[in-house]
């Protein structure tokens, strides 16, 4: 399997990862950037004149498609949930940055939108993984009642995975792209101010977010999870149960997929040895040279088809499973938060009830009512997100599994073509012989 030998990122691909300074890391130093020839090439460099808006957003001047045409094009995509999309994001063009302190990858985050919340229809900024991480944390803190899509795992085993290999960067880019698209498609999350900043701000002021923690977030953190709920509503209990059962299935599918990839790679190793044996044999068989060579090249064709299948499966199949494993974790943590909000409400209600019994007050205090509102609000948000998630999951798995079937069909079709084309080569002489035999008779 080629995945085991990561190629150097810079050496291949049409878009080599250029080494450049991180624009985010140099907040006040527009002037410092310009002397570097590398930076001059990057399109979003701060050197571009007068296009910075009051908020300092750089604009991509050389945009190939206008936002409206892009909107039209993208809306044709299988937009099955029927929501109108007016915010389009893509993560692409990974580049490697080397400084004395660290080496890291940035990705271009391109945005096209018609939303009034954005000052411009298009943005293009460079972000690194930790910026995405920042965004996710901000989203989680500011929208605690919502399911935040997962990010790919931050930590990779050093030495086992080359963080700068083309494969690793591409897999991560895809995952980041998926994350951002999921956020941008979300009816609530997509209006989050941190997302806005992430997509449009020239410099991401990461400190800013910390001060904006909502009260909701604080109160959620305040409650400890040890409290036993009196009555968790059925539907949320069912969600929890579902997740508990879904997780091992995901794990099993992931293990099976990996095992298949391993078996296929081993099969490939043997096939690559098997084909050439026929070639060797062809040397000592005058009459059978052509058929044996034919079989050898046929096996070679099947080998490369298998190689392709294995590569496609490890690139398309496994990352989606990973994402869902993480997605389930996010969902579980939201459910936990919901429980604690309910717990807080129940505790307050109980306290007020006992106070009522004592006869101190007769009215339900406002903070209990507030808590009840909060629970109801949370429940509604969570239910909406759950349905969304289920819908996404169905779409994703349908795509994933039909994709698997397609890859396999494609593989067998290639092998079929190879073997069918070798048949005349094998029969040729024979049919000639029979023909001449018939003539003799």
């Amino acid at each position: 399997m080629s995945a085991s030998t990561p190629k150097a990122l810079a050496s291949s691909g049409q878009k080599p990862i250029q080494e450049m300074c991180h624009p985010l890391g140099l907040e006040e130093a527009a002037g410092v950037l310009t002397p570097s020839p590398d930076v001059g090439n990057t399109r979003n460099s701060i050197g571009e004149k007068d296009l910075s808006l009051p908020n300092g957003t750089p604009v991509e001047t050389s945009s190939p498609a206008s936002s409206s045409s892009l909107l039209n094009r993208l809306q044709l995509d299988d937009d099955l949930d029927g929501e109108t999309r007016d915010l389009f994001v893509t993560v692409d063009d990974p580049r490697k940055h080397v400084s004395t302190m660290e080496t890291y990858i940035t990705y271009r985050v391109a945005t096209k939108t018609t939303r009034v919340e954005f000052d411009l229809p298009e943005y293009s900024v460079r972000r690194r993984y930790q910026d995405f991480d920042w965004l996710r944390t901000r989203l989680e803190d500011s929208q605690p009642t919502h399911l935040i899509p997962p990010l790919p795992e931050k930590f990779v085993m050093k030495g086992v995975v080359d963080r700068f290999s083309e494969e690793f960067v591409e897999t991560r880019r895809k995952a980041l792209d998926k994350f951002l698209k999921r956020v941008a498609d979300h009816p609530v999350l997509s209006f989050n101010e941190h997302l806005n900043a992430f997509l449009s701000a020239k410099d991401l002021n990461k400190r800013q977010g910390l001060a904006l923690l909502t009260k909701m977030g604080e109160s959620v953190k305040y409650v400890t999870g040890g409290y036993k709920l009196r009555a968790r509503p059925m539907e949320f209990a069912a969600m929890g149960e579902y997740l508990d059962m879904f997780t091992p299935k995901l794990g099993t599918i992931d293990r099976i997929a990996q095992r298949i990839i391993k078996e296929q790679s081993e099969y490939l190793v043997e096939l690559r040895e098997y084909g050439p044996v026929y070639s060797t044999w062809a040397v000592s068989e005058a009459e059978l040279e052509e058929p044996l060579e034919g079989v050898a090249s046929c096996i070679a064709n099947c080998s490369s088809a298998l190689d392709e299948l294995t590569e496609d499966m490890s690139e398309d199949f496994l990352p989606v499973l990973r994402e869902y494993v993480l997605y389930v974790e996010s969902m579980k943590s939201v459910l936990k938060k919901r429980d604690s909000v309910q717990a807080e409400y129940e505790a307050k209600l109980e306290a007020s009830a006992s106070r009522k019994e004592e006869g101190t007050t007769t009215a339900v205090p406002t903070d209990v009512e507030k808590c009840q509102d909060k629970v109801e609000c949370f429940n509604a948000d969570l239910k909406a997100d759950w349905d969304r998630w289920q819908n996404n999951k169905r779409q994703d798995f349908r795509q994933l599994l039909t994709g698997m079937a397609d890859h396999n069909i494609h593989y067998y079709e290639k092998c079929l073509t190879a073997w069918e084309s070798v048949i005349p080569l094998l029969q040729d002489q024979q049919s000639q012989e029979t023909r001449s035999d018939i003539e003799k008779d």
Binding site: L80, Y242, M245, F246, K249, T252, I253, I256, R259, I260, E263, Q264, E266, Y267, V269, E270, L271, E273, Y274, V277, Y278, T280, W281, S284, E285, E287, L288, P291, L292, V295, C298, N391, R394, Q395, F397, R398, L401, T402, M404, A405, D406, N408, I409, Y411, Y412, E413, C415, L416, W419, E420, V422, I423, L426, Q427, Q429, Q430
Partner: protein, 449 residues
């Protein structure tokens, strides 16, 4: 050794063979149909195999397999009768005895090999047990193939012992031992294991010998790698079977995706199961290759035997030349070459005229004898070369035809495997696509309602 050929061939009525019979035989085997072979007169098959238990020569209990040989005279059948076939039981060891007899009796023939005694080059899921039904069945097919090949061979098929093997259940073994082939067999083994330096090797035979080595090494390599390929293919298919279980378990917790997953799971089960048939079929291809692996040994034996005969001829003529030289020396008194005799003569003086006369006449006698031997050996060698060359050409043609056919059937197997694969995955894909259509249907219903 060529006696048997000249003997009256075992006759069982005149020729006469319908086209359908020829076709049948052609279908069953890849044997030649030319010349007056036994197979034109006799229908032969190994109809079944049976496990038996009995006592062996040292009175030990043993289990073995017996094979039922059925024979029918063809001309009787063409006359419109349909008699029940003559049947008799043989053990594998009796087939071995027959083949050893043929090897010794017809050293210039590339004698068809027997199927393997023990399963070799097997991939791990296949049983290597001699009593395994699949193995016994494959061996039954192999033994039948052997008999058909021998019975269709222009020389071998006319052998009396072969006919006895097919028709006389009892007393046949004694008949074989009476030919005294065992003694020849022992010397043959010794001769074939020794190496000789032949002065004038026949290029054709050395080339053929070289080829037999190549054939043997390449077929065994191919069989070894193929067994590993089969192992891996088995693994790939069987692991897919795990999807069957997890999809069906998963379907239980899903509302809208359930049906699609459940039935996709069945297709994955079917996919995993299909590899058993695929690999069983491939085993037939492996058997075809194995036959040629063993044929390589038979071909080499023919070449080795030629070397041996050539060596004997060369030794005999070298001996004759040296005798003639001695005679000349004795007659002229001139010692041309250094010899022990010359030395003793010099040391101990000339021998008496009587002694000389006696020695000379002995030499003369030996020379006459030697000349006869050389003549015999020369004609033996020539005869051997002719016979062997004819049969090696026959073998070559048979091999090219068989292997081509084997490759075709192998390719056909691969094609059917690919088609099966496409079918299963297309079915599975349809199921996967249902995952969403059911949801769409639900939403439609909501809109309608």
């Amino acid at each position: 050794m060529a006696e048997a050929v000249n003997e009256e061939p075992a006759r069982i009525g005149g020729g006469g063979l319908t086209d359908t019979e020829v076709e049948n035989n052609k279908k069953n085997t890849m044997v030649e149909q030319q010349g007056s072979t036994l197979l034109r007169r006799l229908e032969i098959s190994v109809a079944e195999a049976e496990k038996r238990t009995g006592k062996n020569t040292v009175n030990m209990q043993e289990t073995f397999t017996m094979y039922l040989i059925e024979t029918r005279l063809i001309d009787v059948m063409t006359e419109g009768h349909n008699p029940a076939p003559e049947t008799l039981w043989r053990r594998y060891s009796e087939f071995e005895l027959l083949r050893n007899y043929l090897l010794v009796t017809y050293p210039f023939i590339v004698v068809p090999p027997l199927p393997e005694k023990r399963a070799e080059f097997v991939w791990h899921k296949l049983s290597a047990d001699n009593m395994d039904p699949d193995f016994v069945e494959r061996r039954r097919v192999g033994l039948e193939n052997f008999l058909l090949r021998v019975a269709s061979h222009s020389v071998l098929s006319n052998d009396k012992i072969l006919y006895g093997f097919l028709t006389e259940e009892h007393g046949w073994k004694q008949l074989v031992y009476d030919t005294g082939f065992q003694a020849k067999a022992d010397s043959r083994i010794k001769a074939l294991s020794a190496t000789f330096r032949v002065k004038n090797p026949d290029r054709r035979f050395t080339d053929m010998r070289h080829y037999s080595d190549e054939l043997q090494s390449i077929t065994s390599q191919l069989l070894r790698v193929r067994a590993r390929v089969a192992d891996r293919l088995y693994g790939v298919y069987k692991v897919h079977g795990n999807y069957g279980r997890v999809f069906s378990e998963w379907s239980a917790i899903e509302k809208d995706m359930g049906d699609g997953l459940q039935s996709a799971g069945h297709h994955m089960d079917a996919y995993a199961a299909s590899v058993d048939d695929i690999l069983e079929e491939e085993e037939h291809y492996a058997d075809q290759l194995k036959e040629y692996l063993f044929y390589a040994e038979a071909l080499r034996a023919v070449c080795r035997k030629h070397e041996l005969i050539q060596y004997e001829l060369e030794t005999a003529s070298a001996d004759l030349i040296s005798k003639k030289q001695q005679r000349e020396e004795l007659a002229t008194g001139i010692v041309r070459t250094f010899s022990f005799k010359g030395m003793t003569n010099k040391l101990f003086g000339q021998e008496t005229p009587e002694q000389r006369e006696a020695r000379l006449s002995l030499l003369e006698e030996q020379i006459v004898q030697g000349e006869v031997t050389v003549k015999e050996k020369t004609s033996e060698c020539r005869e051997y070369v002719n016979g062997a060359w004819v049969d090696m050409q026959r073998f070559k043609e048979q091999k090219d035809r068989d292997l081509r056919e084997a490759l075709v059937s192998y390719a056909v197997m691969q094609i059917s495997m690919c088609k099966k694969g496409i079918q299963v995955w297309t079915n599975a894909k349809e199921c996967f696509q249902k995952i969403l259509s059911s949801v769409l249907m639900n939403t439609d219903q909501i809109f309608v309602g």
